[in-house]
């Protein structure tokens, strides 16, 4: 498989766009107000304001300076610290137990409100498309985070080829159910198979990926091989792994963690520092590889790209 690195998506892209825009705003306002010290101070203040943190969190959680830089997480950490209950509930269980999963041949059933329902071989699903690298922050609902260079395809591109019917409003993803290969499924810790879902507009958003690789390599089994969902502005559990079924529907699907504990895990699960998990705060996170905690950004730092999807919505109730 030829893996092309998209020149337009590099590690530099993970700098929040708001920070990037600050520069222009700074120049513009500095120009308007003159190059006096007052102008610089005023525009700096305005610039920090648009990071968007203060829109969602209480004032004391707003960091004084710019967010710390994002560095790609060590491969060993990203492949050895996983929540993938199909292979066990400990974070090192997936690495230990996922090795035997057969990921080829692999077929994906496309069902529901779609013009071209069929069972596709994995390669047919992406025929003629080129995987590209996307470096995303990954924020777990348990308040830890990583930075992962994914390889994959925008889900929207795939869905457009499958042609959703006008009535379709949600996309549901189902993980493989096979207790013989997935020992964690022999325990009833969650209702199996694992099901996740997105609103269709979330699924069509260019940030949303179907990933088949990471770190320039084929996706390791413990990270969801051969096919997983990546939605960088949502908590990690939204990213269904080892997907065997994609179903388009007009009704909001019942998702697994929401069914298991509806007060703790909502359908939307957008990263939001202002909405706590019942047992811990979501205002901060621990980046794997760093000792101190860092502030969690609204929509995981992708607010500029995705906040408009939720305009007018009560994000506290729709957590």
């Amino acid at each position: 498989m030829l893996i092309r690195r998209a020149p337009d998506l590099t590690a530099a892209d993970i700098t929040p766009e708001s920070r990037f825009l600050d520069r222009r705003r700074f120049l513009r306002e500095a120009g308007l107000l003159g190059v006096g010290a007052t102008g610089i101070v005023a525009s700096l203040g305005a610039g920090l304001g648009v990071t968007g943190l203060d829109a969602c969190t209480s004032g004391d959680a707003t960091p004084a300076g710019p967010p710390a830089p994002d560095r790609v997480t060590a491969y060993d950490d990203a492949t050895g610290y996983n929540n993938y209950y199909e292979f066990g509930t400990d974070k090192d269980d997936p690495k230990t137990n996922a090795g035997a999963l057969r990921t080829r041949p692999w077929s994906v059933a496309v069902e529901g409100l779609v013009a071209r329902p069929a069972v596709y071989q994995l390669d047919d699903l992406f025929r003629g498309m080129t995987p590209a690298e996307h470096v995303y922050r990954h924020r777990c609902v348990e308040a830890w985070s990583m930075v992962i260079p994914w390889l994959g395809y925008p889900l929207g591109d795939v869905l457009r080829r499958l042609q959703p019917q006008p009535a379709a409003r949600f996309v549901e993803f189902t993980t493989l159910l096979d207790p013989a290969q997935m020992p964690g499924q022999r325990s009833s810790v969650l209702p199996w198979p694992y099901i996740e879902a997105l609103r269709l507009d979330e699924a069509m958003h260019p940030l949303t990926l179907l990933a088949t690789g990471m770190y320039g390599k084929v996706l390791p089994n413990q990270n969801g091989a051969p096919l997983r969902l990546v939605v960088p502005w949502k908590y990690g559990f939204k990213g269904a792994k080892a997907i065997v079924k994609i179903r388009l529907t007009d009704r909001q699907p019942q998702t697994t963690w929401n069914a298991a504990a509806s007060d703790e895990y909502g359908f939307y699960a957008n990263v939001n520092p202002a909405v706590d998990h019942p047992r811990w705060t979501q205002a901060k996170e621990r980046r794997v590889g760093e000792f101190r905690r860092r502030a969690t950004l609204p929509f995981n730092g992708y607010a500029d790209q995705v906040a408009s999807l939720y305009a007018g919505m009560d994000l506290v109730r729709n957590f």
Binding site: D60, D77, G80, Y81, Y85, T89, K91, E142, W144, V189, L190, A260, A261, D276, P278, R279, W280, T281, R286, V288, G289, F291, R292, R293
Partner: protein
């Protein structure tokens, strides 16, 4: 002869007694002395020294045994040590009754205080490393999260027990009152286990295993409780 008669049940499993007596003699020669206790006391803190060293490595960004989230790893480790030493403390009396090793009695205080030390380290880890000593956050979090309320209440109950663990306090309170006060250890077990259970995301296997161990210890204590004095009319019939 019946074990149901008399102020206290007779020794359990009497056929094991000779074996315990033989095995107990060399043990008593070491562990029954003050310096033996000091040795056990020091050994109980070996895990603490190890954890501190691993934390230092984590802080330096070196590979360490606390895991990818070292602070969480330390929280789990100190929490688990607290539960472990709480169980050991409560097991001292049953083991003493079973074996007849009465020198074990003094280890209740040793293990109880070790447990308090680990529980305090657990709380300090959370406050200092997890919340980074933001006292506003600490107060807000402890009030907002039921499992933190329960855990913190458990630690508060431990404080007077640790303070009154000295011989001076036993004398000052008198045996009966001191015993009544230290029965609050059972409340600590309940609060600790509820805290443990609630803090788990979904997999409750470990709290259940620890819970069963506590149930076993309590079942023994109930079985070996001092029975009520038998009615005097029955007395001659049994003797």
């Amino acid at each position: 002869m019946s074990t149901l008669v008399g102020p206290r049940p007779g020794p359990p499993l009497p056929w094991l007694r000779p074996w315990f007596e033989r095995a107990g003699r060399p043990l008593a020669r070491v562990l029954g002395r003050d310096w033996g206790r000091a040795l056990v006391w020091a050994a109980s803190f070996v895990p603490a020294v190890y954890l501190a060293w691993q934390l230092w490595l984590a802080f330096q960004g070196e590979p360490n045994d606390l895991g990818r989230e070292p602070v969480k790893g330390l929280e789990h480790a100190t929490g688990e040590q607290s539960i472990r030493f709480l169980l050991i403390t409560l097991a001292v009396t049953p083991v003493r009754q079973l074996t007849g090793w009465n020198w074990l009695a003094k280890y209740r205080r040793v293990f109880g205080l070790v447990m308090f030390a680990y529980a305090t380290a657990h709380l300090v880890t959370y406050a200092a490393l997890d919340l980074e000593l933001n006292l506003g956050d600490l107060a807000r979090e402890i009030v907002k999260r039921p499992y933190l309320v329960v855990g913190f209440a458990g630690w508060l109950v431990l404080v007077p027990l640790a303070v009154t663990s000295t011989t001076g306090w036993i004398r000052r309170l008198g045996g009966r009152r001191w015993n009544a006060l230290h029965r609050f250890t059972y409340l600590v077990v309940v609060l600790g286990m509820v805290h443990y259970w609630m803090s788990q995301k979904k997999d409750h296997t470990e709290p259940v295993m620890w819970g069963l161990a506590f149930v076993a210890v309590f079942a023994w204590r109930w079985w070996r409780r001092t029975p009520a004095a038998p009615a005097s009319v029955e007395q001659p019939a049994v003797v």
